[in-house]
């Protein structure tokens, strides 16, 4: 029963997909330690993801009940929830699930990081929401380590949620190295199932649907990033997964004005951990580049730029606005530069290709906005093709610019916006970056 308690504490799980024998769960329900609820409320709301729109909660004739049931299309990929599906939660207050922890991190925080780290810790102890407003490469993950350790020590359960699987995969090993005695679960779509009680959970915001009233501290990394910023369901999930009084710590390089207004306690870090300023984007016209690609040619200015990077043996990223354009462009590029590769969100080999670039096996990558955040490649040079397209808003452009000059050996690099007319968003991105460097 201990195992069931460890697994189910703070979780809300499909009864028929629980990794324990059926008899064990049946017994736990009978003796009252596990409660069951039906998946869709009378008000037609999904109790796992809290979706309640008529488009997503849809009726159908259920052959199991021989009547009309409703099911939720929003979170269907995690196993369908319908009116007659049972979800289970651990009903009793949690017993002694706490562990001892050690902190094994030898790095140093800059004075700026240190100050922010203290401020976060203070907010957590006072149960205030907090925003870490830090430029790309400020070292925001490291500054979270001391407050996380303090929270672990006093027995709090902590969640670090990030919008994308890539970010979760990047954070997990760093946290496991810093807290070697702590059980840390890493959750994302199709992640291997881990048993036991994790006092620290690293997860995609999506997987938070499966938690309820679980965490004493909720940290939302990249709080401005897609899909989190667009999806109110994910925002609801953050609130549902934490305990009522638990503070939220938001981490963002490009917070929305809404978030800035909403959170009273803010730590600003407008300097990179290595102390060098952020590279400032250059604008370069690339008139009607889409027509040039459509004709099966490469824009001249672009080939000049790419040739230069290849000559200097500098790795580069070319950001494109749409997958369609990537598919069109990669064939044309490959004719001239056979070693180039392209990645986008549906690409199964994404990780391998990024690895190849990092190890200099390929000179450069063509990418969609999927690589706009979370990746660090020493000395990488970046060009945005079609920076005037709507998908490249100021936040995205700032993130993309943030890929350049992250390591202390190569604190500088080139970021160039190829455009078909300068947009306000491009101007805004450039102004913001200049203002960060001014230390405003």
């Amino acid at each position: 029963m201990k195992q069931v308690e460890e697994f189910l504490t703070g979780r809300i799980w499909l009864r028929h997909f629980i990794p324990f024998p059926k008899e064990q769960i049946d017994r736990a329900i009978l003796n009252g330690s596990v409660t069951t609820r039906f998946g869709i409320t009378d008000e037609k709301q999904c109790i796992r993801c809290l979706e309640h729109s008529l488009q997503k909660i849809v009726p159908f004739y259920c052959e199991a009940c021989q009547q009309i049931c409703h099911y939720c299309r929003h979170c269907i990929k995690m196993g369908r929830i319908s009116s007659c599906t049972e979800l289970i939660t651990w009903a009793l207050p949690s017993t002694n699930l706490l562990q001892s922890h050690s902190f094994n991190w030898t790095g140093n925080l800059t004075p700026l990081q240190q100050r922010a780290s203290h401020e976060v810790q203070k907010s957590i102890s006072q149960k205030n929401d907090h925003l870490i407003y830090a430029v790309c490469g400020a070292g925001k993950t490291e500054l979270l380590f001391p407050p996380i350790f303090e929270a672990l020590k006093i027995g709090l359960r902590i969640c670090l949620a990030a919008p994308r699987t890539d970010v979760v995969l990047e954070l997990t090993p760093r946290l496991r190295a810093a807290f070697p005695n702590t059980i840390i679960h890493s959750l994302y779509g199709n992640a291997p199932e881990e048993l036991g009680f994790a006092q620290l959970v690293v997860t995609t915001t999506h997987q938070l649907y499966r938690f309820e009233n679980a965490f004493d501290v909720m940290i939302v990394d990249e709080a401005d990033a897609f899909p989190y910023s667009y999806d109110i369901a994910l925002k609801r999930a953050v609130v549902k997964a934490k305990k009522k009084e638990a503070p939220i710590v938001y981490v963002s390089a490009t917070p929305s004005t809404e978030l800035l207004k909403q959170v009273a306690h803010v730590s600003k870090l407008f300097k990179r951990f290595h102390g060098y300023p952020l590279p400032i984007p250059k604008f370069q016209s690339l008139w009607r580049y889409d027509k040039t690609f459509a004709k099966g040619q490469l824009p001249k200015k672009l080939t000049v730029w790419v040739d230069e990077k290849i000559d200097k043996k500098e790795p580069f990223l070319l950001f494109f606005p749409t997958i369609e354009l990537i598919e069109q462009a990669i064939d044309i590029f490959k004719r001239k530069y056979p070693a180039l590769e392209a990645v986008y969100s549906q690409d199964a080999d994404r990780k391998e290709k990024v690895m190849k670039l990092r190890q200099k096996e390929i000179p450069g990558l063509i990418t969609s906005t999927i690589l706009e955040r979370g990746i660090t490649i020493p000395n990488v040079q970046v060009a945005v093709i079609g920076a005037d397209e709507a998908i490249f808003d100021a936040a995205a452009l700032i993130q993309i610019s943030g890929r350049v000059g992250r390591s202390s050996e190569y604190p500088d690099g080139e970021i160039i916006f190829f455009h078909n007319g300068i947009t306000r968003q491009m101007d805004k991105a450039k102004k913001m970056i200049i203002s960060y460097n001014g230390g405003l």
């Binding site: 488009q55 849809v58 159908f60 199991a64 099911y71």
Partner: protein, 218 residues
Amino acid sequence: MNCYLCDRTIPLQVTWRSIFFTEREEVICFQCQTEFERIETGCPICSAVGEEKCLDCCEWEKTEYAGLIDNGKSLYRYNPAMKEYLHRYKFLQDVVLSEVFAKQLKEELRGQKSVIVPIPMNENKLRQRTFSQVDRLLDAASIPYVHVLGKHEIGLGGKSKVERIALQDVFWWNGQPVPEKILLFDDLYTTGSTLRLAAKVLKEKGAKEIKTLTLIRA
């Protein structure tokens, strides 16, 4: 409304037709539609690639199942988009996806003279899945059908073709009158065993002509 498959908004198409007639609303966007591969030509029984009767169907003609199917057709190839679709519809049980091919099925079956008989589901399996994916495809297209067969609790999935052929009595006649001309309908044609086992029972019970239609040719 949003596309059932990619969740992007479908731009509203206003035409004279849409103003004066109630047309079936598109449930998937144009981009997603182009991902599916319609079968133009193929084997006259199973629509496998090629012009002639395919090797598999020729093999069937050497067995006791020879001549059971007079002719047949499948509408789509089992490409990655279709695999994903079937996974979401059948296994994730996203019932509304039955509407995705409603228009195409309606067009295909317009003026059909044969009586449409869907491949049935086993009762237990039906309760487990909570809906019959084959019936719902026809319902979504407002196509009338009759059930003449019942099915025993044996899944065909995961069995080799030889094993499948060895499976007798998967289907049984449910006592309803058997029409002379039948169009057997199923979601997926993989080896052709399901349709032939069903056709055998129907012919034994008096069906004269059996055609087949499947949504997908694997």
